[in-house]
């Protein structure tokens, strides 16, 4: 990742090292404050896991138990039994994967156009893609709903994929462009001098360098699609609901059962968190590098 970075952090100067040494004494207070921030930021995640893994009756003890002891999978079993869990998950997977694959293909082509070609109207396209990302999607639900209704895509996964492209596509184009501008054109030129066609140069030289960025972008897009709630709620009927809606409307005739709900949240949230941890660094590098380098 560091290889493609345009700008790195400035080398630590001796003055900075000296200052760091001087400041070490005052560090204890800052560290304690830092740990407090850690506790506050992590608490909801901890509390979710804690509730999910403790025996169901401990979860509704008015005196909270701060450790899941004994560890129990009872809540997970109940969450899976109360209503169909794998159906919504499968639908979410189809929609997210479909969106990402289509978005990556279309987005890559567009990103190539704006990063590798000089053409009339390029600036307009770039500003347009940035602007599109600013459109608040909440404001668009009514006309999008009517459009889907018109083309008979209500309650269809394909309809949901189509709407998700509205936010996945601009994001994919912009991020991939960030990764692309960091791949030196000279590499492609060298390949072409050696007799590669432009397409050949792309496939053999640029694509392998771009692949990690493409994967990171796709995973990030996948997470966004997976987490989406509003359009999923609107477009899909209850028997075809996706995972987010399944979780959001998780109630039984006994009211809300929080312990199984936390188990459901864990099943939905933890894979996403792990995926996110994997790509976050790469994404941050790509985004900032893309912003710095024209």
């Amino acid at each position: 990742m560091t290889g493609t970075r345009g700008t790195g952090t400035p080398p630590l100067s001796t003055a900075a090292v000296a200052a760091a040494r001087r400041r070490r004494n005052g560090k204890l207070g800052w560290n304690l404050l830092g740990l407090l921030v850690f506790a506050l930021a992590a608490f909801p995640v901890y509390w979710m896991l804690n509730t999910a893994f403790k025996p169901a009756k401990d979860a509704i003890d008015p005196t909270p138990h701060f450790f899941p002891y004994p560890v129990s999978l009872e809540n997970f079993r109940r969450a899976l039994n109360i209503s169909d869990f794998w159906g919504p998950v499968e639908r979410s997977l189809i929609v997210s994967a479909g969106t990402v694959v289509i978005g990556a293909v279309i987005g890559l082509l567009a990103a190539l156009a704006i990063s590798r070609f000089a053409f009339r109207g390029r600036k307009v396209v770039i500003v347009g893609i940035l602007t599109v990302q600013m459109v608040p999607l909440v404001a668009m639900i009514i006309p999008v709903f009517l459009l889907l209704n018109q083309i008979h895509q209500i309650d269809k996964l394909s309809g949901l994929i189509l709407t998700y492209l509205t936010f996945i596509l601009p994001f994919t184009v912009w991020t991939l462009r960030g990764f692309l501008v960091n791949i030196p054109k000279e590499l492609e030129e060298a390949a072409m001098v050696d007799g590669c066609s432009r397409t050949g140069a792309f496939l053999r030289v640029v694509f392998p360098l771009l692949a990690p960025g493409l994967v990171a972008t796709s995973i990030y897009g996948f997470i966004q699609a997976w987490n989406e709630f509003l359009y999923a709620l609107l477009v899909m009927s209850q028997e075809h609901e996706t995972a987010t809606v399944w979780l959001g409307t998780f109630t039984t005739q006994h009211g809300t059962e929080y312990a199984p709900m936390m188990a459901g949240s864990t099943m939905m949230g933890i894979p996403v968190v792990i995926l996110f941890l994997l790509v976050q660094r790469k994404m941050a590098a790509g985004l900032t590098a893309g912003a710095v380098k024209g």
Partner: protein, 331 residues
Amino acid sequence: MSAAETTTAKVPPRRHSSPPAGGGRPPAPGRRRSRLGQAATPWLLLAPCILVLVLVLGYPLIRLGTLSFQDYKKPQLWGFKPATWVGFDNYQAILSDSEFWSVVVRTIVFAGCCVLLTMVVGMLVALLLQRVSPWVRTLVNIALVASWAMPVVVAVTVFKWMFDSDYGVVNWVLSKIPGVDYSGHNWFASGPEGLSVIMMQVVWGAIPFVVITLSAGLTQVPKELEEAARLDGAGALGVFRYVTFPIIKPLVVMMTTLSVIWDMGVFAQVWLMRGGHPEPEFQLLTTYSYDRAFGVNDYATGSAIALLTVLLLLGVVAVYMRQMLKIGEVE
């Protein structure tokens, strides 16, 4: 240098020839730029992307405008009746409705508080992270990324559970404070209190992005400059105000703008916390518009409200657009 396609290799390089009308920028020094080759290729590459965006974004955007001037309810949706034009009737009805105005004020206050809290706390945490030991920084970063990655639906569910009136951990902790009894306290009995809980969730979810971006920005601030200011006698506040902040200001502006857009668009949090039926004192512009369209089946009025929301946002977006145009300038 012509990094262009092989197809144009035979065409003599047109150095500086016919600068395109839209982008008459001189080539940046030291940067190579492919010659204007076959003009159609980039557009062919862009075509699928533009096509999709026009269909699912451009068309609905226009439809949103036209819809707000029509009478469009269930019969029109099912095609029993054609949509009729009603001019400004929808807007007149909304703007003379006192409930709408209270929703507007509530949305602005809610979003304003969210943005302010997010930016101030985010900035403080980012500055704090520069002063802590690496292992603390790593811990905080992991917690931040984990909370950033949490799906909104999951986060809302967890907050709902933490603030549950009977078994919620928050009430239990608060009741530990001597003289305070929060057992059985219902956080959602009143609008302002319930919205503060929602605000906490929104801010908790928004801070990681701000902290991580600002931290990245802060590493770009030359240490020598801060050191020099400190040697010249500037206090911590002075260093921040006159050295650090000006350097990261563009980032702050961008993050604030994005936060405004996101926090004005808060929907799932309110909708889920209130079990799909937000009470009147919980309604924000987004849920209000949704309720009008899909609760009462008055799609036209809902669209008009959505459009007014967008107009409200435009002022803020204008600031952001100026930044974006600057990026376009650099291109």
